[in-house]
Amino acid sequence: MNIAIELTKYLMLILTGAYTYHAFRAAVKKNKNSQDKSYKWMTCCIFMFHFTGYFTLFIQATNNKLLLLYGLEVLVLILALKFYKILYPGISGLLLRNMLMLLSVGYIILTRLSFDKAIRQFFISAAALGLGLIVPAVVNEYEKIKKYGWIYGIAGIGLLLLVIFIGTENYGATSWLSIFGIVTVQPTELVKLLFVFFIASLFSENISFKRICIVTALAGVTVLALVFQRDLGGALIFFVTYVFMLYCATEKPLYLLLGLGAGSLASWIAYFLFDHVKVRVLAWKNPFGYIDKEGYQISQSLFAIGTGGWFGMGLNQGLPTSIPVVDSDFIFAAISEELGGLFALFLILLYINCFIVLINIAIKSENNFFRLLALGFSVMFGFQIFLSVGGVIKFIPSTGVTLPLVSYGGSSVVSTIVMLMVIQGIFNTGSKPSKSKAKERP
């Protein structure tokens, strides 16, 4: 028993390491043949990793429900790989596999933390993968999509205002919306998509000073609405995404500097104005000084990471549930505690790999709308990871955001999958000669 837990721990680490290695190899290699070879390795690693994880969990708690969930997850992983490739041969196989690998990591750690939540997460992510199937097709019709920039912007603000008035509170932020009392969703996640579409659409039309002013005002309202909901992490993500999109649309570093300067000033003011901001900063500076209350979560997180060390305690061998909100905002600590610090570093590398693939699609995109869209989503994705991981390891104050594709949270996983599939659609459209592209070139 003990020997199995220890061995699987190292096996999972090796598999993830191999996966990460091949992910970078595939990203660098231009040669189609060696790329395909890496893809095969990666697919193999995903399934073996997923199997090893469930094997470890199963030998510790023999439960047939685990087998069922495992079977369903394998099925969804296979279907996702097959269907996406058949429907869209032009999408990035690397990005697709990264997405599935991250989902598998999330499946395993969530099953370990809470079986019920793992089941919910599985069904929602499966549905999201299904929904994702139509996304590239929709993106292909970009001439139609990009016309409604104003509507995206206004709709986003409208949704956020709706939450302020009839939203419910969770974890100190009023950002949940209850639909007929059955499901609660986080509209911020949908607004994320609308927001990037809105800015990409308007800035790709023109970037006159007047246009910049109007869009900045609307983006500012969106960010303020989030601040009003006490969703600090969300506000920061939107703000940074906007600043970088503005920078890339105008290509003027001045805007980047102005934006980041204004952001720093605003954070500084927020620190003195809002107690809940101050508390987070205090808990960050000296978590152990406030360990009974404000610093409890971050202290527990550091205990978990530190005790786990480089190789981790092994699945089910640590105490990750002592960390409040461990299944969503603090899931990185649970991963580091039980699967190890090295595994956690591989995970960050994997996210970096995703980010580079995403932004590479932005660079290669010839269409201005696509370029801004891909860039916006890349920044959004990358910055969210930075906030989430950085907050958990006390690199920066904790802002309470989820780790994309790994954390528990239906709205988050749906929006992330759609976001990635939009970029896949851009890549897919760009990689084949289409009539719309022909139009673009006079």
């Binding site: 290509e251 152990f288 202290s299 610090g341 570093l345 960050i348 980010f355 201005n368 991981v389 390891i393």
Partner: protein, 494 residues
């Protein structure tokens, strides 16, 4: 500048309304460069974050997870046999053994001798057992054997803590104290290494469970759980004259010309301060006043000193502050303050009575600072961490706590303290082969016997050891503290 670009932009827009070029970036290469800069910014952030994470795991995590708030200690204890605590001269002070019933038991071979400094694991961890808990529960595994043990579920031996404590010296101090209530602390002045720390009465950590109720309720009324060395607060008595002398030297650069005619007692506003046994010392200079521990001359010095200056000096010696040590300690107190304290209090304070309180550890640090030429070192008890196989994993490096006086000041104080031995209240130590310097103290209490003090160091030229001896409620420092110090010095310089 921007305006002109703007204008150009607008006019261009008007003239080339349908021209797609206006929507495209002016230059594809520069567009790429802009996005590339975003890649660099984010990759840089990620690499910084990964660096921070690795830094935390390598350097910071050990201290962090040692927190008593970390519930994961018990998880670790299931995988590792708690390491040993060993004295500097290689004697095991605490180890985990398996008893007849296959249960792991923590064994302390010297019963109550190290009860406070090494501490205990049951009923709330204390001492080194608490401070190095994670170290003891961590196994340095590099060999295939350790990994194999991990795999088959056999516990690996935890890391060993090698202390700075000298067992022979500790035993000498322990024996010298005998049945008396009090404490002995010995420090290496140049490093701050604690060589011995004994507090009596103590308790037997091997039997803590059986005796817990009696101990925790203090049924015998002698506080055996208290580490008197670092937590017991006592009036310093005449040992405090070291600081009074230093304050006087700083306010009066001509202190060498100090002269006072001692008549055996001094009166002020109805209060009388006597010299010991009402003896009058006649005409004294600073050195003689110090050597004979002349209360009348020192309380007359106290009358003239600036109260705030005196307090500042004492606070620079860590009065009213936590000691710069990992050992749990109580703050020593110095309360003289302009405006709220009267002249009588100032006179009493100058001879170590009044409201001033100090711990024996703190007093040892003051003696060590004089011995070390004015540099006070942080006291510590753990020298290094070794793996079960004897490989050094981490060494603790001596750290300066503060420069509390100049080299010249220390030099003069040394000569004063030397005179105490050659020609004063601790002359009993003069017969030792090694040249000792020190100061006795007899802290008077209303209606009870005095506390006996001695603090000092040896050898005078290159001090290797500084000690602080306190015996509660017994009599004069010369009669009761000095003989204990003598035995400790004898053992150390054997």
């Amino acid at each position: 500048m921007r305006k002109s670009i703007l204008k150009k932009d607008i006019t261009r827009k008007k003239s080339e309304k349908n021209n797609i070029k206006n929507k495209m970036p002016r230059d594809k290469a520069s567009g790429r460069k802009t996005i590339l800069s975003v890649v660099y910014i984010f990759t840089g952030l990620f690499i910084l974050m990964m660096g921070y994470f690795a830094h935390f795991l390598i350097f910071k995590s050990r201290d962090v997870i040692n927190s008593t708030y970390n519930q994961r200690h018990d998880v670790l204890a299931k995988r590792v046999i708690r390491g040993k605590i060993i004295s500097a001269d290689g004697v095991v002070l605490a180890e985990t053994v398996t008893d007849d019933g296959e249960n792991e038991v923590r064994n302390y071979p010297f019963d109550d001798m190290y009860a406070h400094v090494v501490g205990r694991v049951l009923r709330g961890r204390t001492g080194i057992e608490a401070a190095e808990n994670i170290t003891l529960l961590t196994s340095y595994s590099n060999s295939a054997g350790a990994l194999y043990n991990d795999l088959i579920g056999v516990k690996n031996p935890g890391n060993n803590v090698i202390t700075t404590l000298n067992h022979k010296l500790t035993k000498a101090a322990y024996d010298a104290l005998g049945n008396k209530t009090g404490s002995v602390v010995a420090i290496e002045p140049s490093t701050g290494k604690i060589l011995a720390m004994v507090s009596k009465p103590a308790y037997n950590p091997n039997e803590i469970d059986e005796n817990w109720d009696r101990l925790s309720e203090d049924q015998d009324n002698e506080s055996p759980l208290l580490n008197r060395a670092s937590q017991g607060l006592y009036p310093p008595g005449s040992t405090f004259k070291i600081l009074t002398a230093l304050a006087y030297m700083r306010e009066n650069p001509d202190y060498l010309d100090y002269s006072y005619n001692c008549k055996g007692k001094i009166e002020y506003d109805g209060m009388v301060i006597h010299c010991s046994n009402n003896r009058s010392h006649g005409k004294v200079d600073l050195k003689k006043a110090f050597a004979k521990s002349c209360n009348t001359s020192f309380s007359s010095i106290g009358k003239e000193l600036s109260m705030d200056g005196f307090r500042e000096l004492c606070e620079s010696f860590f009065f009213n502050k936590d000691l710069p040590a990992k050992i749990s300690n109580n703050k020593s107190r110095f309360e003289l303050k302009t405006g709220s304290s009267g002249v009588k209090e100032a006179m009493q304070t100058a001879i170590g009575q009044g409201k001033t309180l100090i711990t024996p550890l703190h007093n040892a640090m003051i003696a060590a600072a004089v011995a070390n030429g004015g540099i006070m070192m942080k006291p510590y008890t753990v020298d290094r961490i070794e793996s079960a196989g004897g490989r050094v994993l981490k060494g603790y490096i001596p750290e300066e706590a503060a420069v509390v006086m100049s080299f010249e000041e220390a030099d003069y104080l040394k000569s004063l303290m030397r005179a105490v031995v050659t020609d004063g209240t601790a002359s009993r130590l003069n017969k030792l082969d090694v040249k000792v310097a020190g100061k006795t103290g007899t802290a008077q209490q209303d209606g009870k016997n005095s506390h006996a003090w001695f603090i000092g160091f040896a050898p005078i030229n290159e001090p290797k050891i500084a000690i602080s001896v306190l015996v509660e409620n017994i009599g004069s420092g010369s009669d009761y503290a000095v003989p204990i110090a003598e035995k400790v010095f004898e053992e150390y310089f054997k």
